[in-house]
C-alpha cells in the first residue's frame, strides 16, 4: 500500500516537470504548427546552462532566472535563423530544420562537454511523510513547475502580449490586420517555448545526472504528454505530463520497470490514432 502511495506521489511530482517540458513543445506547435525536434537538445542545453551558473557559484534555484532569460533569447535566435523562413512551408521542412538545429546543439555540446554525465551537487534535504520519503529537490522542482505554469497562464490570459500570442496562434493574418506584428509575436512565442523547455531541463538537472544526449528521453516524453493532452493545448500538456508521471508511477509496482516505456509508446500511438486531438482537445 505504502509502495503504491509512494509510486503515485513520485509519479505526480515528476509528472509536473514532464508537463512543463511538454508545455514548451505544445506552445510552439499551437502557435505556429511547428513540431520542434530541437526540443530535446534544448532541454539538455537547459541542464548545462544551469550547470554553468551553478559552477560559477550561483545557487541552483537562483540560477533558474538567468537560465530562463538565456533560454528566451536562444529561442528567439533559433526562430529567426531556422524557423522563420520555412514557417509556412510543408511540415517536413520545419521538422527537418528544427532537427538540424538539434544536430548543431548536440554537436557543439558534445565538443564542449563530451557525452559523459554531469551532476548538480548541492545539499538536498530528505523528508519523511507518513513513511513516504521525498527529497526537497523533487518537491521544489514540482512546485517550480507549477509556478512557471501559472506564470505562463497569467501571461497568456492576463497580459496584452500574451493575448496577442493567442491571437496570432488563432489567426495570423487577422492579427496582422489588427496591427499585431505577427513575426515578432512568433519569435517571442518560440522564445517562450524554448525558455520553458530549458527551465524544465534545469529542474531535471537538479534531480538527476545528465549528459548532452539526455534531452532525447524527455523530448519523447514531451511528445507523449502533449499528444495525450492534445497538441497545441498547454493545459492539456500539463495534465498529459501528470498522467504520464502517474502511469509511470502506478504501473511500476505491478510490472517490470523496463516495460513502462513500451506501455507509454503504445498509449502514444493509440491516442494519436483514436484521439488525434488528445484527451483534452487540441488543435485539429
Amino acid at each position: 500500500m505504502l509502495q503504491i502511495f509512494s509510486s503515485v506521489m513520485d509519479g505526480l511530482l515528476i509528472g509536473l516537470v514532464y508537463g512543463l517540458a511538454a508545455i514548451g513543445l505544445t506552445l510552439i506547435f499551437g502557435v505556429m504548427d511547428v513540431v520542434n525536434l530541437a526540443h530535446g537538445s534544448i532541454i539538455a542545453l537547459g541542464m548545462f546552462f544551469l550547470y554553468l551558473f551553478f559552477g560559477a557559484g550561483l545557487h541552483p534555484y537562483l540560477s533558474l532566472v538567468p537560465v530562463a532569460i538565456l533560454g528566451f533569447f536562444f529561442g528567439v535566435i533559433v526562430y529567426l535563423i531556422a524557423v522563420k523562413r520555412i514557417i509556412s512551408g510543408p511540415p517536413l521542412m520545419s521538422l527537418l530544420s528544427t532537427f538540424s538545429v538539434s544536430m548543431i546543439i548536440i554537436g557543439i555540446g558534445t565538443a564542449l562537454w563530451s557525452t559523459s554525465p554531469y551532476n548538480i551537487n548541492f545539499k538536498v534535504e530528505t523528508y519523511n511523510i507518513l513513511g513516504y520519503t521525498v527529497t526537497s529537490a523533487r518537491l521544489i522542482a514540482a512546485v517550480a513547475a507549477v509556478l512557471v505554469t501559472f506564470g505562463l497562464y497569467f501571461f497568456l490570459y492576463r497580459t496584452v502580449l500574451g493575448k496577442a500570442v493567442r491571437a496570432v496562434a488563432n489567426n495570423r493574418e487577422a492579427a496582422e490586420l489588427m496591427g499585431i506584428p505577427s513575426q515578432q509575436i512568433l519569435a517571442i512565442s518560440f522564445g517562450i517555448g524554448t525558455m520553458l523547455a530549458m527551465l524544465s531541463g534545469a529542474l531535471i538537472a537538479t534531480l538527476f545526472p545528465f549528459t548532452i544526449l539526455s534531452g532525447g528521453v524527455y523530448e519523447l516524453k514531451s511528445f507523449v504528454a502533449s499528444v495525450l493532452g492534445g497538441l497545441g493545448n498547454p493545459t492539456g500538456a500539463l495534465l498529459g505530463g501528470i498522467i504520464l508521471g502517474l502511469i509511470e508511477g502506478s504501473v511500476a509496482p505491478f510490472i517490470q520497470i523496463s516495460w513502462t516505456n513500451v506501455i507509454e509508446f503504445v498509449i502514444f500511438v493509440l491516442i494519436l490514432l483514436f484521439f488525434p486531438t488528445g484527451l483534452f482537445g487540441g488543435r485539429k
Binding site: 496584452v160 493575448k163 496577442a164 493567442r166 491571437a167 496562434a169 488563432n170 489567426n171 493574418e173 487577422a174 492579427a175 496582422e176 490586420l177 489588427m178 496591427g179 499585431i180 506584428p181 505577427s182
Partner: protein, 237 residues
C-alpha cells in the same frame, strides 16, 4: 484636397497570376466609398493589396499623403488603416472581449481602449452580453458584429470592410448597414466591398466598379446605380 487613401496604378496577383491591372482609386475623408464588381473581379485582392498582405508589384498606395506601399499590414493598421477582412477572421479561441482588446493592439488605439469599448458595446449590445463567450461560438450575425466592432476598436482613420453582408440573413444585414450609416454620419471614413449592389450603392457616396482587375466605371453612387451598363455587367439580367 488630396484623398485620405489613394491607389495609383496598382498591379498585383498571386504567384504568376496577375489579378489587378493598374487599379487607381481615391477614398475621400468622411465619405463612404464602395467597391463593387463580380466574383473574381479582384475586389478582395484590392483590399489585400492596400493592406500589404499581397504585395503590389507595381503602383503605389498612399495613406494620409504618405507612401505606405512597402509597409507591412500591422504597420498600416497601427497608422489607422484598418481592414475588416472577408470571412470575418475572428480569433475564435479568444473571448469576445479579448477579440475587441486585440483590435486595440496598436499603441495609438490602446490609449482610448475603454472609451472605444463602450462605444462598440453601444453599437452592438449583443456583444456586451456575450463578452465572456468564445468568438467561435457566436452566431453568424454576432460574428460579423464582432468583426466590425474589432475593426472599430483600432480607432480607424479609414475603415475598410470586405463583404459586410456575406452569408447574413437580410434582417441582420440591414441592421449592420444601419450601424455603418451611423458611423459614417459620425464622420468615419469607410471603404466598403459589398456584393449587395443595391444597398452598397444606395448608402455610399462614391462607387468604383471593378471588372477583370480594372476599374471600369466610377462616379457618385447614385449615378453609378442608374447606369444600365453596370446593371448588365454585374447583375446579368
Amino acid at each position: 484636397m488630396s484623398a485620405l487613401l489613394e491607389l495609383n496604378g496598382v498591379e498585383t496577383g498571386y504567384g504568376e497570376v496577375q489579378v489587378l491591372w493598374g487599379v487607381s482609386m481615391a477614398v475621400e475623408q468622411g465619405r463612404m466609398t464602395t467597391l463593387v464588381g463580380a466574383n473574381g473581379a479582384g475586389k478582395t485582392t484590392t483590399m489585400r493589396a492596400i493592406m500589404g498582405i499581397v504585395h503590389p508589384w507595381k503602383g503605389a498606395v498612399r495613406f494620409q499623403g504618405e507612401d505606405v506601399t512597402r509597409l507591412s499590414a500591422h504597420d498600416k493598421a497601427q497608422m489607422g488603416l484598418v481592414l475588416v477582412p472577408e470571412g470575418r477572421q475572428l480569433f475564435s479561441d479568444l473571448t469576445v472581449e479579448e477579440n475587441l482588446e486585440m483590435g486595440a493592439y496598436s499603441p495609438r488605439a490602446r490609449k482610448s481602449l475603454d472609451e472605444n469599448m463602450r462605444k462598440v458595446y453601444g453599437f452592438f449590445p449583443r456583444l456586451e452580453e456575450r463578452k465572456r463567450q468564445k468568438a467561435g461560438t457566436l452566431s453568424g450575425g454576432e460574428q460579423q458584429m464582432l468583426a466590425v466592432g474589432r475593426g472599430l476598436m483600432a480607432d480607424p482613420v479609414v475603415l475598410m470592410i470586405d463583404e459586410l453582408s456575406l452569408g447574413l440573413a437580410p434582417v441582420l444585414a440591414q441592421s449592420l448597414f444601419a450601424t455603418l450609416k451611423r458611423l459614417k454620419d459620425a464622420g468615419l471614413t469607410i471603404f466598403l466591398v459589398e456584393q449587395n449592389v443595391h444597398l452598397a450603392l444606395a448608402l455610399s457616396d462614391y462607387a468604383y466598379v471593378l471588372a477583370e482587375g480594372r476599374v471600369k466605371i466610377e462616379g457618385p453612387s447614385h449615378e453609378v446605380a442608374r447606369n444600365e451598363e453596370v446593371r448588365e455587367a454585374y447583375l446579368g439580367i
